[in-house]
């Protein structure tokens, strides 16, 4: 009894208030550990139907034109000295102009990839058209220079957008790309690639919706088939089909689901399946052997910085974040400093650097936690 009174008195005497500790304390701590240089795998920008993507690109093109007209002088070229690439390696191409992209995927403050690039302003054309066939572009210096991989030719699709299922980062050197007919991986930051054996019995060539590839250690996740998440725990030798609990109403035939993740943090992980303007969020505590959920959250483009630290872009373009695994969401102050654009995807890196896509096609980067944004320039 006396002990209970002591407990109660101590709780009162040392009550630091409901807002203690700061909700960002763990994130700040992990950032201090240097996590920004070793990011987890990244979700690709959700696949969009060609019609939606085309509209997004057009909207972004209009925005770019408005920005150019408003400023009088178009955004200056990044100030940097182009370095010669080592012999035998493809040259790094300097970023010289504003471009629009079909997708973006970022691994850290400096490492990111874009695909389906349009050098709209460089081409000086009223509507975006593909300028070249550089396909997937990778930067390792925050967008100052780009490596043209040649993967994902923008002429591959009828809309010319260089359709690509996903680009998944394990770290700055290890990427996996799922495009129309293959899974390719690199372990040297994109210089050389090799094609993976298709995960029988599913083939990317025969599965239009196969659009995510995630690597976490020897574990590979492959999503894209409604209600299923193919998982290999032996680097792709054998596969199991993890069945996801269905959402209320079940899986809808013909629905264009968009997938994010899984993002793995040790044995814990989170996986998003977006439908319309909502995202179904699943979580695992056993390395992906089983999944619980879903919880439904308004928004798309789920991203996770930690097992309970999730980000999502609301239909309004606001960025929402939860630090307790979806129990409570709060709207961040992240907002574009251009009133004519609206964020559609967000790619936090754990530090002050964030990447984003606005109006479905305009790549952005912030170095101050999302207070101010710059347009990412392309070769």
């Amino acid at each position: 009894m006396a002990e209970e009174r002591l407990r109660s008195n101590l709780d009162r005497a040392f009550d630091a208030g409901a807002e203690f500790p700061d909700r960002l304390l763990l994130s700040r701590t992990m950032a201090a550990l240097g996590r920004s240089t070793a990011s987890p795998v990244r979700p690709a920008r959700p696949n969009l139907k060609p019609s939606s993507r085309t509209m997004g690109v057009l909207a972004a093109a209009i925005v770019v034109a408005l920005l150019a007209a408003a400023s009088g002088v178009f955004l200056a070229v990044n100030d940097f000295t182009h370095r010669a690439a080592p012999a035998g390696r493809p040259p790094l191409r300097p970023a010289t102009a504003v471009g629009l992209v079909a997708g973006l995927s970022a691994a850290s403050a400096n490492d990111a990839a874009v695909w389906g690039p349009y050098n709209f302003m460089k081409a000086n054309r009223p509507t975006p058209e593909p300028l070249d066939s550089s396909g997937l572009l990778i930067t390792h210096d925050g967008g100052k220079t780009w490596l043209a991989t040649g993967i994902g030719s923008p002429t591959a699709q009828s809309d010319g957008l260089g359709y690509m299922g996903s680009v998944s980062w394990t770290d700055a050197e290890h990427l996996a790309v799922v495009d129309n007919d293959s899974i390719r991986v690199t372990s040297d930051g994109g210089l050389t690639w090799h094609q993976l054996k298709n995960p029988a019995p599913f083939s990317p060539a025969g599965a239009d919706s196969l659009n995510e590839y995630r690597v976490s250690g020897s574990t590979i996740f492959l999503s894209g088939i409604s209600g299923h998440l193919l998982t290999s725990h032996d680097s792709g030798t054998t596969w199991i089909d993890a069945v996801l609990p269905p959402p209320p109403g079940g899986w809808q035939t013909g629905m264009d689901y968009q997938y994010s993740g899984p993002f793995m943090f040790g044995l814990r992980g989170v996986f998003g399946v977006a439908q319309s303007s909502d995202t179904l969020i699943y979580s695992t505590a056993d390395g992906g052997k089983s999944w619980s959920g879903p919880i439904t959250e308004r928004g798309q483009s789920l991203w996770a910085l930690g097992p309970s630290d999730w980000w999502i872009v609301k239909p309004s373009g606001q960025v929402a974040r939860t630090l307790d695994g979806g129990a409570n969401w709060f709207t961040t102050s992240i907002t574009p400093n251009y009133s004519v654009i609206s964020l559609t995807s967000i790619f936090p890196t754990g530090g002050n650097v964030l990447w984003a896509v606005a109006n479905m096609a305009l790549p952005l980067r912030s170095t101050d936690g999302g207070a101010h944004w710059s347009i990412v320039k392309l070769p």
Partner: protein
Amino acid sequence: MSLQAPGAIGQDLEQSLIDRAKAGDRFAYESLLEPAVRPATRLAFAMLQDRSDAEDAFQESALRAWRRLGNLKSGRPFQAWFLGIVANQCREIRRGRWRQLIRLPDLVPARSLEESAWFEGEDLRRAVSALPHDQRVAILLHFHLDLPLNDVALALGISPAGARTRIKRALRRLRPAVAVSEATANG
């Protein structure tokens, strides 16, 4: 407040995460750290009585623990071990606090309690603060964080019997302050 807070992880999973973290997996480390944030910051606040210092203590402890993870013996629970590091970090901060001589406690922590309630606990805070470090940590771990005796012992790096002895001694010293606090609380 129970140590097994929401989000607490099972023993097998924890050992797996510890192994991964020792191998350099920062995300595994974050998974270990996440359930420890609240108890660790509560302990730090009770030790330092300043929210900013308490958060600094947590951060510094997390960095230290990361560097010393190899010292965590197999099978030993992470959280108790980590709380021990937090306690030591708080001691270092207190030692370096020359300014505490002229500094008031953190009176404006945007707390939900009324200010009067804060002052009512002042006798207890002073009494806890006056305890020797080892006794103060023991009493806070056991009564404020609700750690079982075995975990208190693990955090302090002593035997359960030793932890019990420290708590008993601390209780003896605290008794007058607790009585005052109760009398105040009871009106």
